[in-house]
Amino acid sequence: MSTKPDALLNLADAMAEDILNTPDDEVLREVEEDFGDRRALANKFDQILERAEKQVFESARFAALAPSPQVRSSVLDLPISLRDETIRRVKGILNLASRLSEFLSSLTPRTLAWSATAAAVATLVPAAVITAVVVKEQGPPSGQQMAEVRKGEKGDRFQMEAVFAPQPAEVTSAGAFDEGIGGPRTQMPVAAPQEATRKLSDEEIAALVAGGRQLMIADDIHNARLVLQQAADAGNATAALELGQTYDPLAPSATVRWGVQHIPDRRTFDVVMARKWYEKARDLGSAEAAVRLEKLKSVPD
C-alpha cells in the first residue's frame, strides 16, 4: 500500500477537524478514559505554557537590561548599576534557578506543590544575592546619601529608586490596586516625579517599552506600569498610551471578544489615570490617544 507525500498532513487535517467539532464534554470524557483524569491534557497544557511564560519573562527582563549594564530587577523594583562581571554571575544564578524549577515541575503531581515552593525560593535567592553583591561591591548607603535622597537631590542609585516608586497621586487614585495588600501606600516618601526623571537614551526607552510589554504578557501589571511610566516620563508617546491602556476599562484587553470568556480585573481600572496618561500621550503626538480620550468621555470617573 503506498500513500501520497502529503498523506500525513491530510490525515492530521481530518483528525484536527473532527477534534474541533467534538462536543466539549465528550472530549473530556475521552481524556478521562485514556488517562483517568478529565483534566490530564488541560493540566499538561497549563504546565507547558506556564514554563514557557516564565522563560519568556526572564528573557524579557534580561533583554531590557542588555543595552546598558543596569539590572532592573522586578523582584527588588530597584535598578542598580552593576559591572558586566556581576551581571554574568547573577545571570548564572538565575539560569540555575530556572533549571531547578523546570526539573521540579516535571515531577509527579504529588510533588508539584513542593516545586511551587522551590520556585519561590529560586526567585528570592537571586534577589538576595543581587542585594548582597551590590552591598559588597558598592557599600551600603551612607547616612549622607539617605539624607540627600530625602531632600530630592541627585544620587544615582536612590534617584532611580524614586523613579520606580509610585507617585503619590497615582497611588491615591489607583489605590484599589493595592488594597488587597495593606491599602494604598500613600505614606511612602518619594521624590517628585519631575525631580526624579533623568534623560534616557532612545535605546533605553525602547528597552523599557519592550520590558513593559513583556511584563504585561506575564500579567505583572504593577511592574509593567512602573516600567512603562519611566519611558512615558522620558517623553515616549507609545509608553504613555500603553500605560493609559492599563488603566482604561474600555481598552481592547478589557472587553469580551472572540467567544472566549474574559473577566477583566476591575480593581486595576482607573479612569482618571487613564485620562492622565492618554492626555500625556496625545500631547506627545499620539493620535490613538486622542481617540481613546474621546471614548473615555462616556465613562464616569
Binding site: M1, T3, L8, A12, L28, V260, H262
Partner: protein, 176 residues
C-alpha cells in the same frame, strides 16, 4: 475538510494585542486546552518534535507578534492554524535531525511520513470501511465526497470518523 486560517490578518481590524492573547489563554476552558493538545498531537507526527513543542511554539509566535490573531477567530481555530503551519514549516525545513545529511534527510523524512500514514491505514485492516475512508482522506478527499464513498448514513459516518480518530489516538499513545 477545510484548511484552518493560518493567523494572517485578513481584515482591517487590528489583531489581538499581546495582553489580549494572554488573557484569552488564561480563560481557556479545560475542553479547549484539551482540543489544542489533541490537535497538536496530530500534527506533531509530521515533525521530529513533540506535541508540547508545537503548542508552545504556537503560543510564543502569537505573543511575540509573529502570528497575528484576527479578532473574530475562536482561540482553538487560531491555534489549529498556527500549529499546522508550524508543523509544515518544521517538516519542510532542514530540522536538526536532518541537518547533517541534507537532502537525503528530507527524502528519508518523506519516506517516514509515507510509512507512518501507511501504518495508520494498515492498523484498520479489520475495518474495511474505515480503511477506505482513511485512504481517501490521505489522498486528499474531503467532506461529502468521503460520506458518499463510505456508503454510510451521515450518522453512521460521523460515528465511524470518531472511531477512526480514537483508534489513531490510542495507536499513537501505545507508541510512546
Amino acid at each position: 475538510m477545510s484548511e484552518p486560517p493560518t493567523g494572517v490578518e485578513v481584515d482591517n481590524a487590528p489583531p489581538l494585542s499581546r495582553a489580549e492573547i494572554n488573557n484569552a489563554i488564561k480563560f481557556l476552558t479545560a475542553a479547549e486546552k484539551t482540543k489544542i493538545v489533541k490537535i497538536a498531537a496530530q500534527y506533531a507526527k509530521m515533525t521530529p518534535y513533540e506535541a508540547e513543542d508545537l503548542y508552545q511554539e504556537a503560543w510564543l509566535r502569537a505573543v511575540d507578534g509573529r502570528r497575528k490573531w484576527p479578532r473574530d477567530l475562536p482561540i482553538t481555530t487560531f491555534f489549529w492554524g498556527v500549529m499546522r503551519s508550524i508543523a509544515w514549516e518544521w517538516k519542510r525545513k532542514d530540522d536538526p535531525l536532518d541537518k547533517d545529511i541534507g537532502d537525503k534527510g528530507a527524502e528519508e523524512r518523506t519516506l517516514l511520513d509515507r510509512d507512518h500514514a501507511t501504518k495508520i491505514i494498515k492498523a484498520h485492516d479489520d475495518d474495511p470501511i474505515a480503511q477506505e475512508i482513511l485512504v481517501a482522506i490521505a489522498d486528499g478527499a474531503r467532506g461529502e465526497e468521503l460520506l458518499k464513498l463510505s456508503g454510510l448514513s451521515p450518522t453512521d459516518y460521523e460515528s465511524k470518523r470518531k472511531k477512526i480518530r480514537r483508534r489513531i489516538e490510542k495507536l499513537e499513545a501505545e507508541k510512546k
